[in-house]
């Protein structure tokens, strides 16, 4: 469209945004294993000023929608996805529920909610949920995942992490980790769990919730993008690794996008989440890039860098794909595109 109607103010990636989500509706995804305290946390959030105007979509695994009954009275709008786990069975329902909310909001038949909160089933793998927001063009245009939050309870969390791959994945893919029920556990147990979580996901912030009490802003504030003190490659078990690419100096967009296209074509299913800021040659602000498996979110350029660090930083969370392999691919593409 810029070819027909060019604008001096526009970035090659469209309108420059103040923040990553632009004007899209922010979404908070709350994950956490069964009994971790998700519903308590959400109920408290909905009663706080920060929780005003939140539409809640609850996913229930099982016959009785108890969680839905608990939050319905507080939420502006509650959607119950009652027929199974959000990640694999009712993803279409999630899409339908979100579409319906947008439709009803525009028609004025639901109040003009300002945020969506998705409470997942304890067994949910968050990756397909994240994918929902990039696969579906219409949803990606309307919604933006601001926070992926995982609750881990201080009593049973360690066991869940030992026994269930889904629990580990919830922790690995989260932006923010909340340890609940610390009042029921010994300080030493909490310390051990904290250490374990840091090993699994060194990028996430870790907060403590006592009896569901947590600063409500933690459910809605996006986590600062790829903090610069990121640790080197981490192995998490299940073949999952995370690492950060920090190319020096501005990178040409064709180099980055061609490297990612190649990576997606060859190893798409193993890119669990790729997210970061790029210093793209010719752009004044950072370009936000995000991929979930073989799907790419449209890149957006921000008005300004979020901090003094102007360097590119892209976090990869991968399965059976090592940092060295990705670096080699980028180097090869760079060598070819520089010709």
């Amino acid at each position: 469209m810029l070819d027909l109607f060019p604008s001096r103010e526009a970035s090659p990636f469209g309108r420059r945004l103040k923040r990553e989500r632009g004007a899209r509706i922010p979404v908070t995804v709350v994950t956490g294993f069964l009994g971790a305290g998700k519903t308590t946390l959400i109920r408290r959030f909905l009663k706080s000023p920060e929780g005003q105007g939140t539409a809640v979509i609850v996913n229930e695994f099982g016959a009785v929608g108890i969680d839905d009954a608990l939050v319905r009275d507080s939420a502006e709008e509650t959607v119950l996805l009652g027929n199974g786990c959000l990640c694999c069975i009712t993803r279409t329902d999630l899409q339908a529920a979100l579409r319906r909310l947008i439709f009803d909001r525009e028609r004025g038949t639901v109040p003009p909610f300002a945020r969506i909160l998705i409470e997942t089933s304890g067994l949910a793998d968050p990756a397909p949920i994240l994918q929902t927001f990039s696969t579906d063009r219409a949803l990606g245009g309307e919604f933006h995942i601001d926070v992926v939050l995982a609750l881990v309870d201080a009593i049973n969390g360690g066991t869940s992490l030992d026994d269930a791959a889904e629990a580990r994945k919830q922790v690995i893919l989260a932006d923010r980790l909340i340890i609940s029920k610390t009042d029921l556990a010994t300080p030493a147990a909490v310390e051990r769990l904290t250490q374990r979580l840091q090993e699994l996901n060194p990028r996430a912030t870790i907060d403590i919730a006592v009896a569901g009490a947590l600063d409500p802003s933690r459910l809605i504030q996006p986590v600062p993008r790829e903090r610069s003190n990121f640790v080197a490659e981490a192995e998490h078990g299940d073949g999952i690794a995370s690492f950060v690419l920090q190319p020096d100096g501005p990178i040409a967009w064709p180099t980055f996008s061609r490297a990612m296209e190649t990576l997606i074509a060859m190893r798409g299913p193993d890119l669990l989440r790729v997210k970061g800021l790029l210093d793209v040659a010719g752009c004044r602000g950072p370009v936000v890039v995000q991929y979930v498996q073989h799907l790419a979110h449209p890149p957006v350029e921000l008005d300004t860098w979020p901090d003094e660090n102007r360097g590119s930083r892209v976090v990869f969370i991968t399965r059976n794909l090592r940092e060295r392999q990705v670096r080699n691919l980028f180097a090869a593409v760079q060598a070819l595109t520089e010709e």
Partner: protein
């Protein structure tokens, strides 16, 4: 899904979406504001916004908005009598032009007044251009950005319209000597003046008049006037010879729409044009009143390619006006925000709305500010009337009846 509440049944509900309210000032109880908003940097460095009032008794109000969180009224003046209004004003440096329109014809003062506003607390009258006459109500709207010419929608003593509602037309007035303004050119829609050699235009079912409204002229094309003509649609005029403006093109949406074209804002770099209607009927009777996006790459062949989407009008049909009115006009002053990707418009009880037009074929709503009805609001809703954005990207918007000034930050 459940839905226990419905704005369709509950009427007006405030919404703030992607705007942050920094301050609200009821302007000393005189918060019924018109469609003149202009920001001056005073000689002492203060940032002053000058605001026109919708109706008597007040003439204009100046507010110190140096700190947008702490606005302070520094000046509020009175009109000479109640049968007039000063709905429009513009500043340029330390000069301000204020439009005077009377409620009936042949009253005075009808025209525009020029003020020296170098001391914002004490604006000093330095000139007046009389537009009164037996068929004239004076000036409804004016445009003044270059310090030299006032372009306005005005009547005139020597202008006898074919229909009494068609009394205001385009006039260009040289104010380089502010104490002696001189008309240098004029243009009216053929058929609206007695003696024209064409038939008068056919009236619309909701007859609001075939007369001028906004008269925008920009330094990018000083030889063009972008003239809205209410029920007559809009015209692009060649004013390279100010004494003899010539029509280049004409575009209208009515009928089947219900007229009252209000403002034209060209987006020069993009080859686009924004055109607004004004809603003038209560209870959304004239719905839809819209902001139109025109492909203006060929100024002789304007093509409508989109409109900015509005919510279901039934939500807003209960009270007051609902629909488009004023937009931020990229006024060519250093104190005005210049942008060609975001449109900010006021929609009466639809509040202030922002649209992303980076894809002009699909304008997308990105912000809403519909505050609670201000105390004493006769419609029980906000009636957002005008918007101006300064070069800091601070948004100022005003209520038509009582709410005064709202100062906002864009958050998208």
């Amino acid at each position: 899904m459940t839905s226990e509440k419905s704005p369709l049944t509950e009427g007006y509900q405030p919404v703030t979406w992607n705007f942050k309210l920094l301050a609200h000032d009821m302007l000393g109880g005189f918060g019924g504001m018109g469609e003149g908003m202009s920001v001056q940097i005073a000689p002492d460095g203060r940032r002053i916004i000058w605001l026109a009032h919708e109706s008597a008794p007040k003439n204009f109000t100046a507010v110190d908005v140096s700190d947008p969180r702490k606005p302070k009224v520094v000046c509020q003046t009175d009109l000479p009598h109640a049968n007039m209004r000063s709905n429009s004003l513009e500043t340029c440096g330390n000069l301000m032009a204020v439009a005077y329109q009377t409620s009936k014809k042949d009253l005075q003062p009808a025209g525009f007044e020029l003020f020296d506003i170098s001391k914002p607390e004490n604006p000093k009258s330095i000139g007046f251009f009389d537009c009164s006459g037996p068929h004239s109500r004076g000036v409804h709207q004016l445009w003044f950005c270059d310090g030299e010419y006032v372009h306005c929608a005005s009547g005139s003593r020597d202008f006898v319209p074919t229909n009494p509602g068609d009394d205001q037309f385009y006039r260009c007035v040289d104010v380089r000597n502010p104490s002696k303004p001189v008309e240098v050119g004029r243009w009216w829609m053929p058929g609206t003046r007695q003696g024209d050699n064409v038939m008068p235009p056919t009236r619309h079912p909701i007859d609001k008049g075939f007369r001028a409204h906004n008269t925008n002229v920009y330094p990018q094309r000083p030889d063009r006037c972008y003239l809205a003509y209410i029920d007559g649609g809009m015209f692009v005029l060649d004013i390279s010879d100010k004494a003899n403006p010539k029509k280049i093109s004409h575009w209208t949406n009515s009928p089947p729409y219900t007229g009252f074209m209000h403002t034209i804002v060209p987006l020069f770099d993009r080859g686009l044009m924004l055109v607004t209607d004004e809603s003038t009927e209560n209870n959304a009777k004239d719905w839809p009143k819209l902001i139109w996006v025109l492909d203006a790459r060929d100024e002789t062949n304007l093509v409508s390619i989109a409109t900015c989407p509005l919510p279901d009008h039934r939500i807003y049909a209960a009270a007051g006006r609902f629909g488009a009115h004023n937009i931020h006009e990229n006024v060519p002053l250093p104190t005005a925000w210049q942008n060609d990707q975001i449109v900010l418009g006021t929609f009466f009880n639809g509040g202030l709305r922002a649209y992303d037009i980076s894809n002009p074929y699909q304008p997308k709503e990105v912000g809403i500010f519909m505050p609670p009805a201000p105390p004493g609001a006769p419609t029980g809703t906000i009636q957002m009337n005008d918007v101006f954005v300064d070069e800091r990207a601070i948004v100022y918007t005003v209520d038509r009846h009582v709410g005064g000034l709202y100062i906002l930050e864009m958050d998208f």
